[in-house]
Structure formats: C-alpha cells, structure tokens
C-alpha cells in the first residue's frame, strides 16, 4: 500500500519474471531449436521465455519512477499470507495426497479438512473435528457412492 512497498514488489516481480524467462530459455535450448521454416520443439518456448525475461526487465525498470498505483488486486489483501493458515493449507493438501495413496478416501478427507480448518485461528479443535466428520459423510455419500469415485474408502498400503 505504501509507495516504498509497491516499489519493492515490482522490483521483485520483475526479477522473478526474468528468472523464469531465462530458465525457460535455458531449458529450451537443450531441445532442438530448428529454423524459422522448420521449427524444432525448443523454438517457441525459447522465444516466449526471452520475451518473458524482457518484460520482467521492463517491469523492474518501470518500478522505479512509477507512482504507486491504487491497489488493483480486487478483493485480495496485499500482505503476506498468514503463516499458520498457509502452512496448514499446504500441510492438509500433502496429507490428503499421502493418506489418499496409502490409506484411502476417508482418512484423506478427514486429514485435509481437519488440518485446513485448524489453520483458521477462530476454529476450535471440536469445530474442526465436526466439520471433518461432516465432510467424510459427504465424501462417502456423494463422491464414493453416487459419483463412483475411483478411490477406495479405506485401504492399507499402496
């Protein structure tokens, strides 16, 4: 929101684009580039990567003089994500992946909802538990039974 902050953000944003662009260029020259007439698989990504790096450079350069523009992100808050909430969302998703693979749908469902719900500071453990159980019922009835989801309810091992 403050000018200094938006200055920094454009600077980092531009740098990120340069890195991604250059990485793409580097990766695509490993493939065959070919000629304009007969392009190899690397030609198009290489060109796009170069353009991305260029636009990143321009973003970083124009960050300097530019007046802080009013927030353009719609309803998004512009601060850093909440650490606990963010970690829980990531951890919940990973838990779903692992448990879904080894233990089946029900444990995975419980894990993702429970862990994600705990990420919100206003949820109590009991509330998170009730919500997870409710979602397990939905998972069983709607996804497993009605939509025939190809994931066993409970299993052991991959």
């Amino acid at each position: 929101m403050r000018p200094t902050k938006s200055f920094n953000k454009d600077y980092y944003g531009g740098a990120l684009m340069v890195i991604i662009g250059l990485a793409a260029v580097y990766a695509s020259i490993q493939y065959k580039l070919g000629t304009l007439q007969r392009m190899g698989p690397g030609f198009f990504p290489c060109a796009v990567g170069a353009l991305l790096a260029l636009s990143g450079l321009l973003i970083a350069l124009s960050a300097r003089g530019e007046k802080p523009q009013a927030e353009t992100g719609g309803h998004h808050p512009t601060g850093l994500p909440d650490l606990r909430g963010g970690l829980c969302i990531v951890a919940g998703t990973v838990a779903f992946l692992v448990l879904g693979n080894y233990c089946g749908l029900l444990p995975a469902t419980f894990a993702i909802v429970f862990i994600c719900a705990l990420g919100d500071r206003s949820n109590t453990v009991l509330q998170a538990f009730v919500l997870s159980v409710a979602m397990m019922v939905i998972a069983t009835v709607v996804f497993w039974w009605a939509l025939q989801l190809q994931l066993p309810l409970i299993k052991w091992g991959a």
Binding site: L52, H75, G100
Partner: protein, 523 residues
C-alpha cells in the same frame, strides 16, 4: 436472418430437454450461490465443478458451466447492493450507488432494477450473438494459419493489456501462461518439453489443476485468517419491496439502454475485462447526467447502467469464444477448455458441426436468465443468510472439493501436486501485484498459437513477412501494434503528469478503490 431464427428455435428444443434444463438450472443455482459468497468467484466455481462435466454429455456440461458464469453475476450484485461488498470486481461500481440506496431503505428496489436491467441486457446480448456469430463464422472460414495466429496474438495482447492492473504485468502473465502450455509432448516432433522426466507431465499440465490452484488455493492462502464474519444488518427483504415504481423504472430505462450498448461494444472486443466495462458505463452515465454530483449517493441509473453493461458483455463475450475459438477472458478460457476436454474443437466449424451445443447454449441463456429472476425473488432472503456462512468452514470444505475434484479428472493423485504448486505460485504472483487471470488465457491458447505460428512459417518458408503481407492478418497485426502503442503512450503520459489519466473513468476507478479498501478493512 430467417435461418438464424430457425436455428434458435431448434436451440430452444435442445435447451428444454429434461436433462439439459435440469443442469442449466443447477448451474445458475450454484453460480448464484457462489456469486453471493465473498471470495468465491465464477472462476473458482467453474474450476471446482469442471471435473463433474467429464462424465457428462457435452451439451448439458456446457449449459451448466455457462449457467454458473452468469448466475454468479446475479449473485455478485446482491452482495454489492445489500452489503457494499463487491465479491467480484465488476460489481465494485454497483456498490457506489447500490449501497446508498440500501441505506435509504431502497435496497429491494435496487435489486429489482438490477434484475430487470440484467435480463434486458442479456436479451440484447443474446440477439447480437444469434445474428453476429454466423456472420463471423463465415469470415473465419477464410482464415488460414497466418490469420489465426494474428488474431490470436491480438486476442492475447488485448486480454493481457486491458485487464486490471499494469498492462506490462498482464503481458508477462500471458507469456507465463504460454510457457505453461508448452509443458508436455511437442506435437510436431514428439519430444518431451519441460516434463523433467515426470511421466505424468508428458501429457501437459491439467487445465483444472491450474485453474483450481490459481483461483482457489491461492485465494485461500492469501485470505485465511483475514476474512471475518460479515454482519448483514437489517436486510429483511420482502418480495414486494423489489418491485420498482413507475417513476423509478423511468429513471432506469435510459441508463439501462446505454449500459447495454456499452457492454455490447466492449464485449465484441476480445480482452476488455468486465470491470473496465462497468466502470465505463458508470462514467458515461455520470458524464451525461444533468446532476453528476448526485452519483454515489444512491441514483437508480448508477445501478442500472453498470449491471446492464456487465450482462450484455457476458453474452457477447461468447461470440469470439464460440465462433473463433478465442476466449476473451479467463472464464471463457475455462469454458473453451471444457469443450476441448469433451473432444470438441472450438472454432468456425463449431456451429455447423455441433449445432446442438451452439444453439442449445444460446437458448439456455434465455431460459437461464429467466430462471434467475424466478429464483432470486423468493430466494433473496436465503442468499442474505448464506452470506453469514463463516469463511472458516467454507475454505476447508472447498479444499476437500478441490482435492477430490482434481483427482477425479484423471483418477490420479499426481494432479493434486499441480494444484498445490499453482496455488503457491498464484499466491506469490498475487502478492507481487500480478493478476493471474491472463495465465489461463495463455495456457489455453498456447498450443494453438504455437501450432499456427509454425504452420504459417512452414507455408511461407520461414518468411516472417507473411503475417503483414496477407491483408486480414496484416490488419490484425496493425491493430495489435496500435494497441501496444496506445497502452505505452497512456502509461508514459500518465507517468509524465505524475498522475493517472484524468478521465472520468479513472476518477470513478479511484473512488471505487477507496470504497473497496474500506470494505476490505471493514470485513
């Protein structure tokens, strides 16, 4: 002309079939619901429900997705008017006059006017679509790879420069999307690109996974512990409150017609975002009004015009998507993606090869819009109550739906990693003030852009001049250049003056930003 009407009649036959009607109804219902909820947009709704369509016949699938899209627009207006809460950016401008009307006890009237304007505008948009699409298709059949590449370039450029935020960043995001589209097997040579020896990546990234990551998970990551319960105050609405008086209707009619015109014109241009459209419609109303100072204090026209604009734009947006295969914005890109998943190649041949989809869709727009009015009048109280569903229950459940949904696309857990990765990427990009929607545009169009680029150069034996030598293609390139120059010039001018362009639109934009920030703080 007669042919179009005849085809439309056929479309109604398709849309009124039991299953199609049911899914269309389901779509508008879900869309409406999600539109009311803050923080959930048409994009996240469509991406979450997209896997459901895999098992469906293409016609009901597309009708449902379209229903979600325009249903959510109706829903968005409800939050904007009753609670000063623009859950979707295009409705930010509706808050300016809608919420003051609510404070004066005229919230019901404002909603009634919104519904009438929306229905009117959508009807006009549908008619434009009925008659314009076949014409456009005829022209499009003359397109070779050169022309297709040029028009796609224009579409990408327009999509990235005219959406919200800095045009340069929009271009960067489109390019990033194009890169994401390169992942997988190269069609021409069979070589794997950017697959990093992961077998699951050899088919490319999953559209649904990217969309859910960027518009679902990223949103949750940024908003968790930031969304508070919204107090809905006294918004007890009765049905008869929603019927506007004759006087109010008279005040609404011209803004409604002008708003529709603005929406139609902007809808025809690929890439102009709905937000810009509503702001321009509002700015126009204020400019020609005899009492511009009254705007922002609760003027009927200030609600009727932007809402009409956004609805006519929505309908007209479908024209380039369906007839040329060029999506105007991220939602259209998703709908296009859904068609491609069904094995249907969008483009000029769509109307002749799949008349049931095209005309059925158009007819369902009308039915859906009518359903929305019928639905919203008795349901308005329920929607208001729904606004109180706490975010802390909403997002964990949504995370589960996302995980299960993306699993079901290929019955493979790997796609969930993609969702997570794109969620984190999206959160970083949004944090750095990038708008992530152009990524979808680039991703969906990427493979087509590359294919046509390569084919055109193969035909011309590597001579790049072919893109400007052929007249239609040259025109598109010229428009693209003009667009680039225009954007650069206005950015440069704005910088020299030390403040943004002082047009009315900018002024409105600024005041809406203030309003949006206040809302952000209040919630």
């Amino acid at each position: 002309m007669m042919q179009s009407l005849h085809d439309l009649w056929f479309g109604f036959g398709v849309a009124f079939q039991g299953t199609n009607l049911m899914w269309s109804f389901f779509g508008v219902l879900v869309g409406n619901l999600i539109g009311v909820l803050p923080g959930m947009g048409a994009l996240s709704a469509i991406s979450i429900l997209l896997p459901l369509t895999y098992a469906m016949h293409p016609v009901p699938a597309i009708l449902m997705l379209a229903g979600i899209f325009y249903g959510s627009q109706y829903g968005g207006a409800i939050g904007a008017i009753l609670l000063n809460l623009p859950s979707h950016p295009p409705h930010a401008v509706t808050c300016l006059d809608g919420y003051p009307l609510t404070k004066q006890g005229k919230g019901g009237t404002a909603l009634g006017i919104t519904m009438i304007s929306s229905f009117f505008a959508a009807s006009v948009g549908i008619l434009v679509m009925v008659f314009a699409s076949p014409l456009l298709t005829e022209i499009a059949f003359k397109f070779g790879p050169t022309e297709i590449f040029s028009i796609m370039l224009l579409g990408l450029l327009a999509g990235s420069t005219m959406s919200r935020g800095s045009p340069l960043k929009g271009v960067a995001m489109t390019l990033f999307g194009l890169l994401c589209g390169c992942v997988g097997t190269d069609v021409n040579s069979g070589a794997f690109r950017f697959s990093f020896d992961v077998p699951e990546l050899s088919d490319g990234l999953e559209l649904v996974a990217i969309a859910m990551g960027l518009f679902g998970v990223a949103d949750f990551l940024l908003n968790v512990n930031r969304m508070k319960v919204i107090s809905t105050g006294n918004t007890n609405l009765r049905i008869r409150d929603m019927r506007p008086s004759k006087e109010e209707l008279k005040q609404a009619i011209w803004p409604m017609i002008r708003g529709t015109a603005v929406g139609t014109v902007f809808g025809a241009m690929p890439g102009t975002g709905p937000t810009i459209t509503t702001f321009i419609a509002y700015a126009l109303e204020r400019k020609i009004s005899k009492t511009p100072e009254k705007y922002g204090t609760g003027v009927i026209g200030g609600v009727a015009s932007p809402e009409a604009a956004s609805h006519s734009k929505t309908q007209v947006d479908f024209i380039p998507t369906m007839s040329l295969g060029i999506p105007g914005d991220a939602v259209m890109a998703l709908i296009l993606g859904a068609l491609m998943i069904q094995g249907i190649q969008p483009g000029p041949q769509l109307i002749s090869e799949h008349p049931d989809i095209f005309w059925g869709l158009i007819a369902s727009f009308w039915i859906g819009n009518a359903l929305l009015i019928v639905l919203n009048v008795p349901m308005i109280g329920v929607w208001v109550k729904l606004l109180q569903v706490p975010y802390r229950y909403l997002f964990p459940s949504a995370m589960f739906f996302i995980a299960v949904g993306v699993f079901s696309t290929q019955n493979n857990l790997f796609q969930i990693w993609e969702v997570l990765a794109f969620g984190i990427i999206g959160a970083i990009l949004i944090y750095l003030n990038f708008s992530v929607a152009p990524i979808m545009l680039g991703f969906v169009l990427g493979p087509m852009v590359e294919e046509n680029f390569r084919r055109a150069l193969l035909l011309s034996r590597g001579d790049l001049a072919i893109f400007v030598q052929r007249p239609i293609s040259g025109t598109f390139i010229a428009i693209s250049c003009m667009l680039l120059i225009g954007v650069t010039w206005s950015a440069w001018r704005g910088r020299k003056r030390g403040k943004p362009d002082e047009s009315v639109a900018e002024e409105v934009l600024a005041s809406a930003h203030v309003a949006a920030r206040q809302i952000e703080q209040a919630t």
